[in-house]
């Protein structure tokens, strides 16, 4: 299955297992602009898979309402770039519901899904990766998968998790990433990073599409510099797996300052995109400088 098919499979499993589960968002009924919900309306009916008008704030607020009554709400925001009108609902309502009501109410059965990240031609409003905005908001969970197999397991965990979750799907991988994915449901635990490759000289931490970039950098480093890299996929951004990434007292033992490789401090550009993204050469460059620190 490719990424969007694995998402469809996860949603299919959820709707089958949980009779209260509903999927809604812009254009989801015919299958969605990335085909993630193809066939679900025909299989489960139009009162379980339905379109909303163009209103992100409304979509999330509405989703919170459904979740508070105990039903499982799976809301789709058409592009992560459009999530900002819903920012207030997510941060001020969804994240704080359980805390402020003393556990009397909660919207834990809410999951928000959104296509995420750069795609080569998305420009300012179809390429953003806004996980950092949500990474400092206690009360919600933020998850980014790197592949179809990971996506299905993580999405099912998000849906079943008793906390509101935001699930960002790397849109560039929707069709490009293909692997064997079981048809039956399975879970991948949240807040657990995965060490994809063990190494001893330098640690590379990434999530989503960047995991693949960083893997390539690791093999370049091995080949050209003889450097052994440990590659970690963070998977859950919030709450993140501190223990796997930095063992206690690691800061005292580091031989070089931690280096952050990311997009530039500018809005996501239109024509400059190839220069903006942290491709393998920029990562490799950073790695070389760190090794030689």
């Amino acid at each position: 299955m490719n990424l969007f098919q694995s998402i469809t499979s996860a949603l299919d499993n959820s709707l089958a297992k949980d009779p209260t589960a509903v999927i809604f968002g812009e254009d989801v009924a015919f299958g969605g602009v990335f085909r993630c919900t193809v066939g679900l309306r025909d299989k489960y009916g139009k009162d379980r898979v339905f379109n909303t008008p163009l209103c992100e704030q409304g979509i999330v607020g509405f989703g919170i309402g459904i979740a508070v009554t105990g039903a499982t709400a799976i809301a789709e925001i058409q592009f992560a770039d459009y999530i900002f009108p819903a920012f207030d609902q997510i941060v001020n309502e969804a994240a704080k519901y359980r805390y402020r009501s003393g556990d009397l109410f909660n919207c834990g059965s809410l999951t928000i899904r959104a296509p995420w990240g750069c795609v080569g031609h998305g420009a300012l409003y179809h390429s953003q990766s806004p996980e950092a905005f949500f990474a400092h908001c206690p009360g919600i969970k933020v998850v980014v998968p790197r592949s179809p197999f990971q996506a299905k397991g993580l999405l099912l965990s998000c849906i079943e998790d008793k906390n509101p979750c935001i699930f960002f799907e790397p849109k560039i991988l929707y069709r490009a990433a293909v692997e064997q994915v079981p048809v039956e449901p399975y879970n991948i635990p949240l807040s657990q990073a995965e060490v994809i490759q063990e190494g001893s000289d330098i640690t590379l931490v990434a999530w989503g599409t960047q995991v693949h970039v960083v893997r390539e950098v690791a093999s370049m480093a091995k080949e050209k510099l003889g450097v052994s890299c440990e590659v970690i996929d963070l998977r859950t951004i919030l709450p993140w797996d501190v223990d796997t990434v930095c063992k206690e007292e690691c800061f005292l033992n580091l031989e070089a300052p931690i280096s952050r490789v990311c997009g530039y401090d500018t809005p996501f550009p239109h024509i400059f995109e190839p220069f903006y993204i942290p491709d393998k050469w920029k990562c490799y460059d950073a790695l070389r400088k760190m090794i030689n620190y």
Partner: protein, 391 residues
């Protein structure tokens, strides 16, 4: 040799006589100076009177509107071509079919008035005064583009034209703000705030309505209803498809958006209403787009080819104006054909520029983030890459 010479001479002679022949043709078509047309009555909401039901079109204006609509049409078709040739990448939302809206709106306001819309804006860019060259170069991301190549199709700007916005509905409160500035400065200017039938369901639009009505801002809200929000037909997204009534406490009128004269008269009416200090007004333009939502949408999975063909044959804005002008002797067929040839040349020349102009230099990646700051270093993709920001 003699044959060639004779041929050459005859070619030169016909060339020489062609110009005066054209002028003779122009002179021989006995033109009227102007003509009066009946236009469709607008549906009114909370208004006692509406725009007039007849419009006077002078020959000069008619030729001007025809030329502008043709230019917009050719511009959009050229953009389609360039996109398929991969000179334009990313997103490209075309407005062919909706020419009467942008040309009619411009005809009803002054250049000193303000306009803001969302991303289906190439037509409005042209009518607001941008050259075809700067529009196409912006689409191809070159330094000759109106936003220096940094914005692309969805973010084009001109004097008194505030874009070109990606998040639909976000331009509603912005337009109300521009209108507030007009009122505050007391210069009798107004702001046209356009949005689509999809964005009409966004919360921000309702917030903008409330503020504009509360403070009596000179803002004309215009809903360009082309019946489909991407692939969603209006009946499936809106509890009420009478978009001109959705301002609730704001008076509204519903206008035939395929007739440039109807749009012009309605815009003049709405502009006068605002300028007289009565507050905001809402206009719904009923129009249609031939292309899909964007270049990645074939546009036929949610509507039939027959429907598109039907609109093209019965309500094409360019054809409607052309027929009116010819039937009332404001122009003749040959003259309009000449204009078509001129326009084609203008757009082809612009496309040539747009595909050969160089891209903006890489140093500009970090420019224009902030203003009036001493130039600082913009963090690049890793700690050792830095760009200079200039304002």
């Amino acid at each position: 040799m003699r044959k060639m010479l004779a041929a050459f001479v005859s070619r030169v002679l016909t060339g020489v006589t062609q110009k005066p022949a054209r002028r003779v043709l122009v002179a021989s078509c006995n033109y009227s100076k102007d003509a009066t047309f009946e236009i469709r009555n607008c549906d009114l909401y909370r208004l006692e009177g509406g725009p007039p039901v007849t419009a006077v079109l002078t020959r000069e204006d008619g030729l001007k509107y025809h030329r502008m609509m043709l230019a917009v049409r050719r511009l959009e078709l050229k953009a389609d071509q360039l996109y398929k040739q991969k000179f334009i990448r990313g997103f490209c939302h075309l407005c062919d079919g909706q020419e009467a809206c942008c040309v009619g709106l411009e005809a009803g306001i002054n250049p000193s008035d303000h306009v803001i819309t969302s991303y289906r804006a190439h037509g409005i860019c042209y009518t607001r005064g941008l050259t075809a060259r700067s529009i196409l170069a912006e689409l191809t991301g070159r330094r000759g583009g109106c936003a220096k190549g940094k914005g692309g199709s969805m973010h084009m700007y001109a004097k008194n034209f505030y874009g070109g916005n990606g998040i639909v509905g976000a331009q509603g409160p912005l337009g109300a703000g521009v209108a507030l500035a007009c009122k505050y400065k007391g210069n009798s200017e107004i702001c046209l705030t356009l949005y689509g039938d999809g964005a009409a369901n966004q919360g921000q639009i309702a917030e903008a309505f409330n503020m504009a009505a509360l403070w009596k801002l000179p803002c004309v809200f215009i809903c360009e209803n082309n019946r489909y929000a991407m692939g969603t037909a209006v009946e499936r997204a809106a509890a009420s498809t009478d978009y001109y009534k959705r301002g609730n406490f704001i008076p509204g009128l519903r206008v035939d958006g395929m007739d440039v004269l109807c749009v012009r008269e309605a815009t003049k009416f709405a502009a006068d209403y605002c300028r007289s200090g009565k507050g905001p007004i809402l206009m719904e333009l009923q129009t249609y787009r031939y292309h899909g939502h964007s270049m990645s949408d074939p546009g036929i999975s949610y509507r039939t080819r027959e429907e598109i063909q039907d609109v093209r044959s019965k309500s094409d804005p360019i054809k409607l104006l052309k027929d009116k002008m010819i039937n009332s002797k404001l122009a003749c067929v040959e003259e309009l054909k000449e204009i078509e040839v001129e326009v084609r040349k203008e757009i082809d020349d612009a496309a040539q520029f747009a595909t050969t102009d160089p891209e903006p230099p890489l140093e500009e990646l970090g420019h224009h983030i902030y203003s009036d700051n001493p130039s600082f270093e913009v963090r690049g993709a890793n700690p050792w890459i830095k760009f200079k920001s200039l304002s």
